[in-house]
């Protein structure tokens, strides 16, 4: 059964100088319980696609059907308020989705080794703690569909490894849809590969095929040995770019 279905989706961004058409007739079906890794070069609309799937931006026309509850993009800070504590923020997201907030808070405290900090306002967190909180919180609730734009797991050292394991664990129970520029991430976390290019999404049963097409299309793609580092950098950038929501 399908988890997310996009039919004839069009999206145009209005900029100050002219408009940019990202998608015109995009069709895609993501099956339930299947992890899809979406490869794409810079500025082909990977983030827009994730935003459309997650509902944080609306299509100009066309339909997006979701079957089941969908998470906010992994490590996205938009739903959190800097002056609320970690626990309060988790409770809010849980309450909106009809999940158990206490269980989520307990899970995050344990998994991210937060201790007392779970009851401190998010604005007081250090960088490391913040990223731990964000990643643990992203996987703390039992959504049917998880979505991620580039950052799938993060943190540093031992936490990073545990976080990657957590993603694998969630993946086995839920649908995971993520975008990346790194073929290695695809091999690690995806069941099905997809390539986004020129406003079209092509799916491949075999991940190798997706990677081959991606490499053929995108000559500037980094060699595989570099991928791990590349990914890490991307995600660090994101964390700097996205501070917590507005201060009260």
């Amino acid at each position: 059964m399908m988890a997310v279905q996009l039919s004839d989706v069009a999206k145009t961004y209005r900029a100050s100088h002219g408009s940019k058409r990202v998608f015109e007739h995009l069709d895609a079906v993501f099956q339930q319980g299947v992890s899809v890794g979406i490869l794409g070069a810079r500025s082909v609309g990977k983030s827009t696609l994730i935003k459309l799937i997650g509902g944080s931006t609306l299509p100009d026309h066309g339909k997006i059907r979701r079957n089941g509850s969908i998470s906010p993009p992994v490590a996205n800070t938009q739903a959190y308020h800097a002056s609320l504590t970690g626990r309060e923020n988790l409770h809010f997201v849980a309450r909106v989705n009809g999940f158990d907030g206490d269980a989520a808070a307990q899970f995050v405290t344990r998994f991210a080794e937060m201790g007392e900090a779970i009851d401190q306002p998010l604005s007081s967190y250090t960088r490391e703690r913040r990223s731990r909180f964000l990643f643990a919180a992203s996987y703390a609730l039992p959504f049917d569909i998880f979505i991620a734009d580039e950052a799938l797991y993060g943190g540093a050292g031992e936490f990073r490894e545990r976080c990657a394991e957590l993603v694998q664990q969630r993946r086995s129970h839920a649908t995971l849809l993520f975008t990346t520029r790194s073929p290695q991430m695809l091999r690690r976390f995806a069941d099905v590969g997809a390539v986004l290019h020129d406003g079209r999404l092509q799916m491949f049963e075999r991940i190798g095929d997706a990677i081959r097409l991606f490499r053929a299309l995108d000559t500037s793609a980094a060699p595989e040995s570099d991928d791990g580092r590349d990914e890490e950098q991307d995600e660090e950038e994101r964390l700097v770019d996205e501070p917590f929501g507005p201060l009260a």
Binding site: G54, T57, N76, A79, F143, D144, A248
Partner: protein
């Protein structure tokens, strides 16, 4: 933590009553979550700040009382100036607070499309309902306070009329609030402009006077103001012999419903662009 997401057995289609009930339940859950968050956010800086929001109307009333006592004004109706002003100021505050605070709701929440289930309408509704609930508590506190000062009429003699008046005014305020919320999302300054405009309504809504005691031409002009009818309705619950010649309940309810529909339509039309 065990993690077994509930898989749906069959895709749900159509708009049966089951589907509708499910939708309403989800919306209710989202609005309540937003209200709780909003309440918590108001008391972030100090635990007293929410209490102050409750006391604000009472403080304003006290100040007005002070001024009127100094200039030696008598109540237009009844024996207690405090009660006369109180029954006028409360529906007025209900209207200005609810419709005014909804104006910046979408931007202030910082939640626009952060979560798939939270839509701009939920954010506006949550704020409007929280403000209505706050004013209900204020009303209870205010009239208990007036009662405690020895004015026995502060206990509404026809409580149903007072409650109906309060509810109708709240409906009007929520309707106007939805329209404001949509305008405010595009036009930041609107909150300020609307604030000035709505506050100046205090002179046109019968807070300080009884509309029926006005000369007919003035009464006719004033009667176009729907808020005036809300005030009349509310006040008639407190005074047994309050003159309600001007009061047109149908007009107030019509205005409220039209505003509500306009607000909902505006939200639907501009949904994709509500930041």
């Amino acid at each position: 933590m065990s993690l077994t997401p509930p898989f749906d057995d069959a895709p749900r289609r159509g708009f049966g009553p089951v589907r509708l009930a499910e939708g309403l339940r989800t919306q209710g859950r989202v609005v309540i979550a937003l209200m709780l968050r909003e309440m918590r956010l108001r008391s972030v800086h100090s635990r007293l700040s929410y209490l102050l929001a409750l006391l604000e109307p009472i403080l304003q009333l006290t100040m007005m009382m002070g001024i009127f006592t100094i200039i030696g004004r008598r109540p237009d109706f009844g024996t207690s100036l405090l009660l006369f002003l109180g029954t006028g100021i409360l529906p007025f505050f209900l209207f200005t607070h609810v419709s005014g605070r909804t104006t910046g709701a979408i931007r202030a929440s910082g939640l626009v499309r952060a979560l798939a289930l939270v839509q701009p309408l939920d954010i506006m509704l949550a704020r409007a309902l929280l403000e209505t609930a706050t004013l209900l508590i204020v009303a209870i506190m205010l009239f208990t306070f007036i009662y405690a000062t020895g004015v026995k009429e502060a206990l509404p003699i026809r409580p149903m009329l007072a409650i109906e008046g309060f509810a109708a005014t709240a409906l009007l305020a929520i309707g106007v609030g939805l329209i404001n919320g949509v305008i405010g999302a595009f036009f930041r300054l609107w909150a300020l402009i609307y604030g000035v405009l709505s506050r100046s309504l205090i002179f046109l809504s019968g807070v300080f006077f009884v509309p029926d005691f006005m000369p007919p031409p003035i009464r006719y002009v004033l009667s176009w103001n729907p808020l005036l009818h809300g005030l009349e309705w509310f006040r008639s619950g407190f005074y047994l012999t309050y003159p309600t010649l001007t009061l047109d309940k149908g007009y107030l309810i019509q205005c409220a419903v039209i505003c509500l529909l306009l607000g909902l339509a505006a939200e639907r039309v501009f949904r994709a662009r509500l930041i």
